[in-house]
Each structure stands twice: as C-alpha cells, then as structure tokens.
C-alpha cells in the first residue's frame, strides 16, 4: 500500500475505454459498479463534441435476477446490440470490482434483429486488477486489430502507411495525427489508417494494405505494430516525431521503407525547415546565453519526455537535469533511451516522489503533466504542461509532433525562458525588515518559499529595496 497525492494513470478499464471510444463502430459495455460510470461524463467534458460516448454500463449489483433493470450481463449485451445496430464490434471491459468478483462472462452475442448479422464480441481475458491504463490500452488495441484480421487485402499499389497515435483524451491528439499526415502527404505517402483515433472498424481490417507502420505514440501502438510486424512482415518506424531532427529522421525512414527518392524527401524536409519548422531557427536566433546552464526537468509518459528530451538537449542545447516516466512497465526501454541525453533518468509513479526528485534537481524549467504544476510553482520556475495527462482541453488542438509541433515548442520555450530571463538577477539581495521576517515565520513551512517570493516580487514592483511588514501582508492578501 502507498499513500499517494494523485495518480498518473487510470485503471485498466479506463485505458480500454479510451481505445474503444477512439474507434468508430466499436461499442463498449463496461461491467462495473454503478458508481464507476464516469467515463461518459469525462468524454462529454473532455472531448466537447456534443457526441455521446459509445459506452454502456452494465452495473454490478446484488439481488434477484428476475428484475428487468440492467445488471444481467447477457441481457445487457443483447441490449447493446439491439440499441446500437450499426455497431460492428462490442467489447466487454470490466472494472476492477467486476474482476475481483470473479463472475463468468459470456462469449457470444445475439444477432441483430432482422439482419442475421452478429457483431463481433471482443473480451479481454488478460484483464486483471491492478493493471494500469496504458498497458491495458496497448493490449486492447492489439486484440481489436487481431479480431478484424480475417480478410487479407492486397498491399496498396502506391506507398501508404498506418499511423499509430495517441487515443482520445490527449488534448491535442487529433492535431498530432493531422500534422503527421500532412508531412507524409508532402513526401508522397498516403495514410492508410489512423489508429486508434479516427479509425473505424473497417480500417482495422485493412491495415495490411499499408507498406509500413509509423508509431507516433509508442505507449499504445507498441504491441499492435509488433503483431503486424511478426504476422505480416510490416516494418515499423518508432522514432518519436518530436523536434525537427526527430521528424526528419521519421520522414527519411518512411521514405526508405516506401522506396521513395531520398533526394526528393530531403527537398521536402528542407522546404519544411525553411517555412514551418521554427525550432532550429529559434535555436539559432536566440543568443547562446539563453540556454547556457539552463536546466530542465521533464516528466511524463514515454514518447513525450523522450522526444522532448532529445529535442531540447540536442537541438536547443538545454541541460536535461532530470527526465522521468510514470510508465513503470516500460522502465528498461525508457532508461535506455533517456540515458542518451540525461544523467537523471528515473521511473516513478508517485507524484510526491516525482516532485521531490524534480525539486532536488533544481531545474530552471519544468515540463510535465498537470500534476507537476505544483512543484514548478513552489520552485518558482516556469512550467509547461506538455506531457499527458494534462488538464486543459483546448478547442484548437496544437500539435507537438512534426515540424508545426516544433514551432509550437519554440513558442512555448520562448515565452517560458524569456519570462525568467527578464527577472532581475538580484533575487537574493532583497532585504527583509525584522517585522516582515516575523510575519513570514508564521506562514506554514511548505508555503513559505512561495510567500517570500511573492513579497519580494511585490516589493520590486513598488520600487522598494526591502520587504517591509506592510508589503508582505499586502502580497499575502
């Protein structure tokens, strides 16, 4: 048992539902306690499209079986088939409560009335309590793809690839696919399917048409692409498409796999570097002192911390003082990659431990999930919430991948680093009067650093050389 301030990942059912809700034509029946049906609400507020989440709850309840209220698993499954006639795949996801109750689950579905067609039922026998969201999402995606592998379509006559990206609830997930598709289109490669976000069940059956798989978000696409590689010999590209160098590497690799003319690929890359990708330009333009001895701590999932770490260390020249992930099942892979650009690679899923590590590293900039906001605030350094899970839900998705994403990154860095470089250097030189120090001593220890900083800021704004009791109290009000 651990006492935690928060969690980075949801339970396994949440991961399965994220994948299921990303693919059109899939309906999920969630076997869970009546109180666990928060996915529909989340879907509404996170996606804000006005659509309903393709998820039905089959509540786990005690009592006699003769009631017609939902709760009987077999009856609820046929209800899903009846109410959603366009559904091609029904998946059964089970909450931890359901898994712990050890009930048996059906394996067949009734046919849809009047059509004689039976939707496919996909269950996940590997589900076990304590499994994490990302791991389950990854396996669920592989199972869904395997379920649709009966027909074997021909390889497309022109080069195409499949994009394996993040599932829904990544704030800019759709934008990431969009940017990748734009770039591939420019080098002359068509996207056969976007998996899972934006795919439909038909696309899942046509994956073998593509010449290669491009993994944008390895956390979820890893085992599915490995399956396709082993079973159908489809090569895959795994470099994170973050930063100009990473994007260029992906495009060149795709060009090679699709037997494109390397010169024309390079020309496209150059053209993009000249107009879209602003990160290299930003790195050239900014005087080196902006980045010299600036330390960055990055924490997040797998693709984003690694991709950002590479880009910031190599392309921008910042010092990555710490780089961590909460995905404990990817520990070895993560450390292997992260060690190539930082000494401070770590794997940790307790937010307080993460905060302590970041605090000990004394960074000048924190990049992380929304749970790292507090650390950055208490350290008084700028914070960029660039790694999922993030709390904000923009209407306009801004990609972080690809060349357009590198410009977004440049903007974020510019504003974050500029804010700190504008601050006067004499932070420590501020004098405190005795009364002000007495007041400050009354502030709880964990808030004191912040209170001191705010008071000094206020004094500086007022043009006062020292912090008096009045200034301190004003800054606290």
């Amino acid at each position: 048992m651990k006492l935690l301030r928060g969690v980075y990942e949801g339970p396994q059912s949440y991961g399965i539902l994220r994948v299921a809700a990303s693919i059109r034509g899939v309906h999920a029946l969630l076997r869970a306690l009546p109180g666990e049906a928060y996915f529909r609400t989340l879907y509404g507020t996170r996606e804000r499209t006005g659509e309903m989440a393709p998820v039905t709850l089959s509540p786990l309840r005690e009592g006699a079986d003769d009631s017609m209220a939902p709760g009987n698993l077999a009856r609820d499954l046929s209800g899903v088939v009846r109410r959603h006639p366009k559904t091609e795949i029904v998946i059964l996801a089970r909450s931890e409560a359901s898994l712990l109750s050890r009930e048996t689950i059906p394996t067949t579905l009734p046919e849809i009335e009047g059509t004689g067609r039976t939707p496919r039922l996909v269950t996940f026998p590997w589900e076990r309590p304590g499994m994490s969201e990302t791991e389950a999402a990854e396996l669920a995606l592989e199972d869904l793809i395997q379920a649709r592998m009966q027909d074997r379509p021909e390889r497309s006559p022109y080069p195409t690839i499949n994009l394996f990206g993040p599932p829904i609830f990544g704030p800019d997930a759709a934008a990431e696919y969009g940017e990748a598709e734009r770039l591939l289109d420019m080098i002359g490669v068509e996207v056969n399917a976007r998996v899972p976000l934006g795919a439909n069940t038909g696309d899942l059956g046509r994956l073998q048409r593509a010449w290669a798989n491009v993994l944008l978000y390895r956390e979820v696409g890893e085992s599915a692409t490995l399956y396709l590689q082993d079973e159908f010999g489809m090569p895959r590209v795994t470099t994170p498409m973050i930063g100009a160098a990473g994007t260029g590497a992906v495009l060149r690799a795709v060009g090679e796999l699709c037997q494109l003319d390397p010169k024309s690929v390079q020309r496209t890359i150059w053209a993009e570097l000249a107009c879209t990708a602003k990160l290299p330009w930003y790195a050239r333009l900014e005087p080196p002192e902006t980045f010299q001895n600036r330390r960055v701590a990055i924490f997040g999932d797998f693709t984003y911390p690694l991709g950002l770490g590479y880009a910031l260390a190599r392309e921008v020249g910042l010092e990555i003082i710490a780089c961590g992930t909460y995905l404990t099942h990817l520990e070895r892979d993560f450390l292997f990659h992260a060690n190539s650009f930082t000494e401070g690679a770590f794997v940790e899923d307790d937010p307080d431990e993460v905060a302590a590590r970041i605090e000990a590293a004394k960074p000048d900039l924190v990049i992380g999930t929304h749970l790292e906001d507090g650390v950055a605030d208490s350290l008084g350094v700028p914070f960029l919430p660039l790694c999922p899970p993030v709390a904000d839900k923009p209407f306009v998705g801004r990609p972080l991948m690809g060349y357009a994403g590198s410009s977004v990154l440049a903007d974020e860095l510019d504003s974050a680093l500029r804010r700190t470089s504008m601050e006067p250097a004499g932070e420590a030189g501020m004098q405190w009067t005795d009364e002000a120090l007495q007041e400050a001593a009354a502030v709880p220890l964990f808030l004191r650093g912040r209170a001191r900083r705010l008071a000094e800021e206020r004094a500086r704004r007022q043009g006062s050389g020292e912090v008096t009791r009045e200034i301190f109290l004003e800054s606290r009000s």
Binding site: A283, L285, P288, G317
Partner: protein, 428 residues
C-alpha cells in the same frame, strides 16, 4: 529620441518628459530600452511620461510646466527632470527653456532641456546623441569644485611629480587625496561598469572620486579645475566638451576595453591624476591568462556592422588578440575624440562611417566572415543568410570593461562559435 527608455532605466531618480506629438510618444513607447533583437518591448517605464501635443491646438505657455509639476508630484524620489523637446515641439511654439525654468522654480529641482534634434557636430540621428547630451546636462549639474580644494590638492600633486614614482608606489593606496580626483564619465550601458573601472584604477593607486551619472543625481561628484575626467564611452563627445569647458582635464586615451585598452587607460589616467604606475605587469599576466581563449579566436574573421559605437574598441582588442577584423562600421565617428583608438586599430582596418546597409550586407556575403557583430536591424536578415551574428549589446550587457571584461568578451565569442558548431553538426 531612441534612447529615452534606456536612459530612464539607467539613470535612477530622473523624470523624463517627452514633449511632442503622438508620433514621438509612439516611437518612444515602441522602442525597447536595449534594442537587442531578442528582447520584447519592455514594460512602460513610469519615469517616462509623454506630453502629447495637439497640432491643431497648441497649449498655452506654462501649461506644460504645470502638468509636469503635477506628474512629478506623483513620483517619489525624483531628483532631476529632463524635458525632451524636439523639433515638433519647437514648431508648435513650445518654449522648452521657459517651461523648464518654470518647472525648476516650482519643484525646486534641476530641470534640463534636451533637444534630440539639435544640430549635432556629426550628422545622423542616433540614440547615443541623446545620451551624450543628457550626460552633458548632468556634467553641468555637477557641483563646482571649490578653489580651496584645488589649492589643497594641487601641492601634493606637484610633489608627486617631483619625487617621481619611487616614493609614490606603496603610499598611493592608503593616501586617498594624493592625486587629483578622478571622475569617470559614462559607462551607463554596461552594468557595474563604473565600479569595475574604479576597482582597476584603485588597484593602480588612483582613487575615484565619483562617476557621472553615478548612482543618483544627489551624488554627483564635484567637477572643476584640477579634476581629471576619464571617459568610458566612445560617444560622449559633447559631454566631454562640456566638462572641458569647466576646466577639467579630460584624458583622451583608449577606452578601458580589452587588455591593451584597460592597461593604457589605467596608466594614462593615473598619470594625469598624479600617480605613476606601470600596468605592464598586470597587463602581461592578464594577457597570458587569456592565452587559451585567444587561441580559440586566432585567425577568425570578424565583421562589425556598427551599432553602439563600442565597435572600435572591441575591434581594436580583438585584432590585438589575433582575430582578423574585416570591417568596422561606426554609426558616427569623431576622429579627433577617438584618435587614440583609431591609431591603435591601425590603418589596415576599414572603418566605415554611417555605413549603407545594402552595401554592407553585400560585403558580408562576399567575405563570409566567421562572426558578424551586427546591429539590431541587420541581425535577423544576416542570421537568415546563414551568418553567425552577435549583437554588440550582448557584450555590453555582459560587462566589457577592465581585464575581467576582456575575458568576458572572448568567452562570449568562443561560446557563440561553439554553439554554432553544435547546431551545424545536427542532422535535421
């Protein structure tokens, strides 16, 4: 006009009133305090206010003065009011001198009128002109030196001359009134500049009595006959001239930039102040300390497009340290004032006064220098053309005075070139 923001930032306790039309107000507001290409326009400085005149309805006499008095009342600690009134104010019938006298009487503060459009000895409108004239105004504000001081100090100075260096050497450091008082002029662009130079001078046994602008208007040092003024900026022609008019000895030597410059500066100022030291030992050890850094820039070709006026001392030092200086642009050049610098730079380097930017860009493209020390206007276009650029402001902000400054100049250059190499080696 361009320097108003910077001035207000660098001179504490000054209130700057810009008198003009909306155009002037907008111009001043848009330009950042330090025109480096990467800085955003700074926040509005509360010590700069705009008296925006309506061209159709020029204000009555005295209105400007009373408004200025009102706004000065709102700012604590104002010790000097500068009325910046240019040609538009003049043509709208504002008698700036009259208003200034009025304000001065009401506030009981010194008020100076600065005309940025006044005919300058060297043509061209430059931010440094305003700085120059403001410093000239400040020199005027310095309290006059009493003659009794003069008599007191004159005799030991003479004695120093008679007995020569032998006796003086060890005594100087403890004997603060041993020579004539030295006042530093300028150095506002670089943080802590006056302190650095004063430290170098005191190591050589010369006490610095103060500096202009110094830390505040109230602490301006007395200036008068017998004072030695050491100029630290190459742009302060008229400030130096005003000082000279008051009977001050202005030392005309190299700027205290770089090893050679600092050594010459310290030596010459010390000599004027009546102490005799030899900087040779210190200069040599500083020079040897920089050996590794000098090796890094030896043979590198450097082009100065001209911006702050510090290009000439910088180029002189870098050429001395082994770099190849291709061209030095200077927005304006008082050849007499900078005679020592130009002589040290040597006749082989092209010094182009108020360069034409197209021609300069072409010359840069042709000669492909290793580093271009560029002005803000040319910075971005040159970077886009693939040249490695540094703004001379970066050198100023890092602090370029003294022996420590020499190291910082070289370090900045080496860092710039190293970073360019890392970025070039990336496979994008």
């Amino acid at each position: 006009m361009h320097a108003v923001n910077g001035l207000a930032e660098r001179l504490p306790d000054v209130l700057v009133v810009v008198v003009g039309t909306q155009a002037e107000a907008h111009l001043v507001q848009c330009l950042p305090a330090a025109p480096s290409p990467n800085l955003p326009p700074s926040r509005l400085n509360p010590r700069v206010i705009f008296a925006v005149l309506d061209p159709d309805d020029p204000p009555q006499q005295g209105l400007l003065a009373s408004r200025t008095v009102e706004s000065a009342a709102g700012l604590r600690g104002t010790r000097l009011v500068l009325l910046v009134a240019g040609r538009t104010a003049e043509s709208l019938g504002i008698d700036a001198a009259f208003e200034a006298r009025l304000v001065a009487r009401k506030l009981d503060l010194p008020v100076e009128v600065v005309n940025p459009d006044a005919p300058h000895k060297v043509p061209g409108i430059l931010s440094t002109d305003l700085e120059d004239s403001v410093l000239a105004a400040l020199v005027n504000l310095c309290p006059k030196r009493r003659t009794s001081d003069l008599v007191e100090t004159a005799s030991p100075a003479k004695r120093g001359g008679l007995f020569g260096g032998l006796l003086r050497r060890g005594v100087e450091a403890s004997d603060s009134d041993g020579g004539r008082p030295v006042v530093l002029l300028g150095g506002t662009l670089s943080p802590g500049a006056a302190g650095v130079v004063a430290a170098e001078l005191s190591r050589a046994g010369v006490e610095v009595a103060g500096s202009v602008p110094g830390s505040g208007i109230g602490e301006l040092p007395p200036l008068g006959e017998g004072t030695v003024v050491a100029v630290m900026d190459p742009n302060l022609t008229s400030a130096a001239a005003v000082a000279e008019k008051r009977g001050v000895t202005v030392v005309k030597t190299l700027m205290p930039v770089g090893v050679d410059g600092t050594a010459r500066f310290v030596q010459d100022v010390a000599e004027e102040a009546g102490s005799r030291t030899s900087e040779v030992v210190r200069a040599r050890s500083a020079w040897e300390d920089l050996g590794a850094l000098r090796n890094r820039i030896r043979g590198k070709r450097i082009f100065f497009t001209g911006d702050t006026g510090f290009e000439i001392p910088l180029a002189r030092f870098l050429a001395d340290a082994g770099a190849v200086v291709l061209e030095v642009g200077a927005p304006q050049l008082d050849r007499r004032f900078l005679a020592a610098e130009l002589q040290a730079l040597g006749p082989d380097v092209d010094v182009v006064v108020s360069p034409d930017y197209r021609g300069q860009t072409n010359r840069i493209d042709e000669s492909r220098p290793d580093v271009v020390i560029s002005s803000p206007g040319l910075h971005l276009p040159l970077v886009a053309r693939g040249h490695l650029c540094r703004s001379p402001r970066d050198f100023l902000e890092a602090g370029l005075y003294g022996y420590g400054g020499a190291r910082r100049i070289l370090e900045l250059l080496v860092l710039t070139m190293e970073r360019a190499e890392t970025l070039d080696s990336l496979n994008l």
